[in-house]
């Protein structure tokens, strides 16, 4: 029984990692209706920026805020310079651009910072909280931060005029333009926000998996599974999906199918969801009249 409980806790901890990146994926999907394959590498790159700032002597929280701003600008810049020119290109062309971004960011980071593993600091205490040894304080804190981001996003989209404008621009660009919303800039803003969320995810993930240019490779796959399970257009669903995938993966790996097939769990989830319920558990079902 103990073993079972411990696996669940360890699963929640890794699930928190998937949830935070899934949130960034959902964000960009909501704003632009694209799935950004470079999301993980963007998060990794901004985490390296945070590392450089701290290496230069800046304390944690100022670095945190500064990194968010840099990430936001980076996201906007990528949309303006790279994505906008292929705005009307077929989906496949956009996918190619995303993958190119992934490879470029990965190798540029390796070139600048080398591939050697780096420890990344955590803002949370080192000693176990409430005697729980199976989730480190950082893992608990990271889940808390992910939930905070989630609430902030909800409030932003639900209650601010800018949030409303962004939703409108994504859902119906023509009509949005007719009522005076600058659709192009809303998309750029969406990219900026997603990059910011990605930066938070990166800074929360790095203390757990250590900072190296390939740290997001495996995580991204699970984040996709998480986002799909929850519904690619539902932030709450994505976070819940993250925890679900984390726990499921651990329990199946430890007690049912063995560790060799753990990764396959994520892939089966992706294919299964797309086949059976493409909108995910909590996503909206789109009906188009033809």
């Amino acid at each position: 029984m103990d073993a079972f409980l411990f696996q669940v806790l360890a699963g929640l901890a890794t699930g928190g990692i998937y949830a935070s990146l899934a949130l960034a994926l959902v964000m960009i999907y909501q704003a632009t209706h694209h799935v950004n394959f470079a999301q993980g590498e963007m998060a990794m790159f901004t985490t390296y920026i945070a590392w450089s700032l701290m290496d230069a002597g800046l304390p944690y929280w100022p670095t945190f805020l500064l990194t968010l701003m840099v990430a936001f600008l980076l996201g906007v810049a990528i949309e303006r310079l790279v994505i906008r020119p292929v705005e009307h290109a077929p989906v496949l062309a956009v996918v190619v651009v995303f993958i190119a971004l992934l490879v470029i960011l990965n190798s540029v980071t390796g070139w600048i910072y080398t591939y050697t593993l780096k420890p990344f600091p955590s803002p949370f205490p080192e000693e176990p909280l409430w005697g729980i040894r199976y989730m480190s304080p950082h893992e608990i804190g990271a889940i808390g931060i992910t939930l905070l981001v989630l609430v902030a996003l909800y409030l932003f989209f639900r209650f601010t005029p800018l949030g409303l404008a962004m939703r409108a621009a994504a859902q119906n660009p023509q009509s949005a333009r007719l009522v005076g919303i600058r659709v192009g800039w809303m998309l750029a803003l969406g990219w900026g926000l997603a990059a910011g969320i990605g930066a938070v995810a990166g800074m929360m993930v790095a203390p757990i998996v250590y900072l190296d240019p390939n740290m997001m490779g495996g995580v991204l796959l699970y984040a996709f599974a998480a986002a799909l399970v929850g519904g690619i257009d539902n932030p709450w669903g994505a976070v819940l999906g993250g925890f679900l995938v984390g726990v499921l993966e651990n329990l199946l790996g430890a007690f049912v199918i063995g560790n060799e097939l753990k990764l396959s769990v994520a892939l089966v989830i992706i294919v299964g969801v797309l086949l059976v319920r493409p909108s995910g558990l909590f996503g909206t079902v789109h009906v188009t009249r033809v």
């Binding site: 360890a10 050697t116 199976y134 060799e260």
Partner: protein, 400 residues
């Protein structure tokens, strides 16, 4: 006129005799020996690139001192980014276009596996490959391939022996990477434990390199009640495993494979205080170890680094590794004399007798024969004291 014709005649007579003495295959002449190599100078494993650079520096030194039997070493090294398809492409270029006499220290288990059959079909030596897999010691089926460092099974054997000596009632848990490298270690440990393997090993868990963490596996191993933990992982996962075991309060005797012993990139990220007591093996002198500060071989190595490889990091053990393996090759080429054929290179590599490289740990010698393609078969155990590795016990050899 008469004198001239005599001179001419004697020249004609002498020429075949000289030719009979000197034997050349592709890539060699009176002035040159061409050597091929691939290394990951870019990509995920580029930390290993230091090896290729230090070998090149060593050959620069040899050439400056007059070369080997008057011939200069021409070291042609290409970047394969640790990607096997690129290794194949580069090695074919080396063999077919650059016409090297042999390839030396090609790096990586997957990369060398990709060219294993090709080299043996071409009958061009694949000498002293930079990987610890056991399959390079198979002269019967692959007579053109030879490893250099102690292989993973040898190391597994040594740990098994130490466990049997110090903890006969051990309950062993194993974490291993699910590929050739991981399975090699596990096999070595099991062979070393012999008949007791079944009763002593209580849990085994594997992981894939694509997994974000190995936390789940560590929790699994802990719940088996094991008191010995054999950690067969690459740097990132090694650091995660050491930290997780400590964090959840699991305190077994820990054996860490030689692949992940870097203080800088494994133990520091894991936490130095969490790494105290780890046991692993060593076979060459660690340049950061204070005990070698006045060692003549290490002093000589430092001078070499300063003069021929000033960009290299003197705290990086890979530079010591490259230096030692290059020294071994130079010995082989010296033994070859003027008979520089594929066949003779392999024959000489397989007839090293008690050859000593002074940067290897005292007591470790290199022996090979036509049935024994495993040059270094001895290691010494060392334990981490919170600051650095400390050697203990004797050099343990598994040579038959």
């Amino acid at each position: 006129m008469k004198r001239l014709s005599v001179a001419f005649l004697s020249l004609c007579l002498a020429a075949p005799a000289v030719l009979a003495q000197k034997k050349y295959d592709a890539g060699t002449s009176d002035t040159e020996i061409r050597i091929g190599n691939t290394n990951p100078y870019s990509g995920p494993a580029s930390a290993y690139g230091a090896i290729g650079k230090s070998i090149a520096a060593y050959f620069r030194m040899v050439n400056e001192q007059g070369g080997i039997n008057g011939r200069k070493l021409n070291f042609i090294t290409y970047d394969d980014g640790y990607s096997p398809p690129r290794t194949v492409e580069m090695v074919r270029k080396l063999v077919e276009q650059d016409q090297v006499l042999f390839v030396f220290q090609t790096l990586g288990t997957p990369s060398n596996t990709a060219i294993h059959k090709y080299m043996n079909a071409k009958k061009v030596p694949q000498l002293f490959v930079a990987t610890g897999a056991t399959k390079w010691n198979d002269p019967k089926h692959f007579p053109w391939t030879m490893g250099w460092q102690p292989n993973y099974q040898t190391e597994g054997h040594v740990y098994a022996r130490h466990i049997l000596q110090t903890k006969p009632d051990a309950k062993i848990a194993i974490l291993y990477q699910n590929d050739d490298y991981g399975k090699d270690y596990v096999k070595g440990l099991k062979d070393g434990l012999g008949a007791k393997a079944k009763s002593l090993i209580v849990a085994e868990a594997s992981y894939e390199v694509s997994e974000p963490t190995v936390d789940s596996q560590i929790v699994q191993l802990q719940s088996s009640g094991a008191n010995v933990f054999f950690n067969v992982t690459t740097p990132k996962f090694a650091a995660q495993a050491i930290r997780k075991a400590y964090d959840i309060g699991w305190k077994p005797v820990q054996y860490l494979n030689n692949v992940s012993t870097s203080v800088g990139s494994v133990l520091t990220p894991a936490g130095l205080e969490k790494s105290v007591g780890l046991i692993t093996t060593a076979y060459y002198k660690d340049p950061t170890d204070k005990r070698w500060d006045n060692d003549p071989a290490v002093t000589k190595w430092r001078e070499f680094m300063k003069k021929y490889h000033p960009d290299g990091n003197v705290n990086d053990g890979f530079n010591m590794y490259g230096y030692s393996v290059a020294a071994t090759l130079v010995q082989v080429l010296k033994q070859c004399g003027n008979n520089l054929t594929h066949e003779n290179v392999m024959r000489q590599a397989a007839s090293l007798k008690d050859f000593r490289v002074d940067t290897l740990l005292p007591g470790i010698v290199i022996n090979t024969s036509k049935d024994d393609y495993a040059p270094i078969e001895a290691v010494q155990l060392q334990r981490f004291n919170g600051k650095q590795w400390e050697l203990f016990g004797d050099v343990i050899s598994t040579e038959k």
